[in-house]
């Protein structure tokens, strides 16, 4: 029997737990010609900001052992052109879409959410994911390291919209639990983690960093064990669902994240190698669950340890 795959992130109901990760397939329109996105739980859009951002000069990517570094710099057309030029086509395409937003201030975040709230009648998004953690822009990091600042953002977003609200956290902290709790208390419906790990690449012959800003974000299988730990840790600290990301390449990886406490997963860098990575992974999950006789994917979530047990 085919397993039940629907999951809920608070008010956000997903057909299945497989989403694409922000920044790894544009608005989805870039990937739609090559993969049936309507089968996925959701597509999470690339981060949108209030003003257009031209992004960083190249190089922007660098291959590493089992992964890559990126420093894209949040290139995006800004909210006005996103709403007029991109979102209508996304909505018409019919796949579930979660908008990912980032701001340099609490007001930026709230204003962005208000824009999605305002067009809800005609251009509905399934939810909003607040990128509290982009390492590639100045000022983007304090929301991700300071629970008080994270709560301010999430609180302001909560007041600005009743859309399902996900808070995306950075793993570049000593302990992610206070941040996850702060987001929960401020009204987030789910926390998403991880964003990329900070890393660097060096061209020693030229005594130069590969990236203009030295630091870049590491993604791909290289970070999977690290991400798995953060997801387990965060899910032990909050009651709201956790969305797991980081180096997920196949169905087995995804099921590990669910077992560790994630209610859903996002697939990022894997898409760069295989356009149908998220679809293939979904097919594989269904097959593996069926083989194991697991009737409902939710039955696997958090089975690594009793979910109710309070964090130390």
């Amino acid at each position: 029997m085919r397993p039940r795959m629907e999951v809920a992130l608070g008010p956000l109901r997903l057909r299945n737990p497989v989403m694409t990760a922000s920044g790894t397939c544009g608005s989805g329109l870039e990937l739609a010609p090559f993969a049936d996105l309507s089968r996925l739980g959701a597509v999470v859009g690339k981060t949108v900001t209030r003003e257009p951002r031209i992004g960083n000069p190249p190089p922007r990517t660098f291959e590493t052992a089992a992964g890559m570094l990126n420093s894209i710099g949040l290139q995006n057309p800004g909210i006005d052109r996103f709403l007029s030029g991109v979102l209508p086509e996304v909505v018409a395409s019919g796949y579930p879409f979660v908008a990912n937003i980032a701001g340099e201030s609490v007001e930026d975040f709230a204003a962005l959410a208000a824009r999605f709230e305002a067009v809800r009648g005609t251009l509905p998004v399934a939810g909003i994911e607040a990128n509290l953690s982009c390492p590639n822009v100045a000022g983007g990091l304090d929301f991700s390291v300071d629970p008080r600042r994270a709560a301010e953002v999430v609180g302001a977003l909560r007041r600005a919209t009743t859309l399902p609200l996900l808070a995306k956290l950075s793993p570049n902290v000593t302990d992610v639990r206070p941040l996850a709790r702060a987001c929960e208390e401020a009204g987030a419906d789910a926390v998403t983690l991880v964003n990329t790990y900070l890393g660097a690449a060096v061209d020693w012959r030229r005594r130069k960093p590969v990236f203009g800003r030295v630091m870049a974000g590491l993604s791909g299988p290289a970070i999977k064990p690290l991400a798995l730990f953060q997801v387990w840790r965060a899910s032990s600290a909050v009651r709201i669902p956790v969305v797991g990301i980081g180096g997920i390449m196949d169905a087995g990886d995804a099921l590990e994240f669910l077992c560790a406490g994630a209610r859903a997963v996002q697939v990022g860098t894997a898409l760069f190698r295989t356009p149908t990575a998220a679809n293939d992974l979904l097919d594989g999950m269904e097959r593996l669950l069926e083989e194991e006789g697991i009737a409902d994917v939710n039955d696997l979530v958090g089975t690594l340890r009793p979910r109710a047990e309070p964090a130390p």
Binding site: F34, T61, Q75, R273, P275
Partner: protein
């Protein structure tokens, strides 16, 4: 789902049919892949897995150099010319006939071959000569009454590649090398002028410094020129925003994804002073 909207399969499994060293640290990789061979247009590229198993992690971009007809006459194999640079190209050079390889493609915006009644000049620098047999083949198929020539520049005789293939396709090649060890001495910009008969368009592929030199050389002369840029790509099909090139926009630039807006661009579209040298 509406079949008209059914996703197009981008990933193909190909069988290696040949892999030979044809010039210094330069390999010709031939792959059996009828779907790709039939669909590919000159200037398009593929993203190939250097070897199975995910190490190296990312695919590598290569121009499709040629599409060879099979027994039925329809194209069934593609040819890549690969200069060995680092670990990905080293792994590709070690591929053996009979092995399978995963490719994404065909990708990117092809060259516009223009009016077959007008002369076309193909300018290649080093491994940038790779895309031109396919262009010559397509041009011949279109009935190249206007004439087709190639101008290829290499560091030295040992690096020269793709010349015989061009000649076999009926395209005369003017050869130059920086040290004069084969053909004329000098760079392509030193030898291009006699080849620019009135009405000639240029298709160019090579390293960024060659494009910068060509841009200066052709500036204001009304010679239409398209280039194929070579910016490192993570995905090759529009997802990662990594492979951007500076496209002029008024007084400033916008960073355009070279994988889908390019890799071919009109030479005047690129802000060459903002382009870095890859190697």
């Amino acid at each position: 789902m509406d079949t008209a909207l059914a996703p197009r399969r981008l990933e193909h499994r190909a069988r290696v049919t040949a892999c030979d060293e044809v010039a210094r640290r330069t390999f010709r990789l031939e792959l059996h892949c009828p779907e790709l061979a039939a669909a590919v247009r000159p200037g398009q590229f593929v993203m190939i897995e250097p070897r199975a198993g995910g190490d190296p992690f990312l695919r590598r971009a290569f121009s499709v150099g040629d599409a060879l007809p099979g027994p039925s006459g329809a194209p069934d194999r593609i040819v890549l010319w690969i200069a060995v640079i680092g670990k990905g190209t080293r792994a590709l050079a070690e591929r053996r006939p009979g092995e399978t390889a995963s490719l994404l493609g065909p990708l990117g915006r092809p060259y516009d071959l223009g009016d077959p009644a007008k002369p076309l000049l193909l300018v290649g620098g080093g491994i940038g000569t790779a895309p031109f047999p396919l262009a010559a083949r397509a041009r011949r198929a279109a009935g190249a009454a206007g004439g087709l020539r190639a101008l290829f520049g290499f560091r030295d005789a040992g690096a020269a590649c793709v010349v015989r293939e061009m000649e076999d396709l009926g395209c005369p090649v003017t050869l130059c090398t920086e040290d004069g060890s084969a053909g004329a001495k000098g760079r392509v910009t030193d030898h291009i002028d006699p080849l620019l008969a009135p009405g000639t368009s240029v298709l160019a592929c090579g390293p960024n410094p060659m494009f910068q030199a060509l841009d200066r050389h052709l500036a204001g002369r009304g010679v239409p020129c398209q280039v194929s840029t070579e910016e490192p790509m993570a995905c090759g099909y529009g997802l990662c925003f990594g492979c951007v090139v500076p496209v002029k926009q008024g007084d400033s630039v916008r960073w355009a994804k070279s994988c889908i807006e390019g890799p071919t661009f009109p030479i005047e579209a690129i802000a060459w002073d903002r382009v870095r040298s890859i190697h």
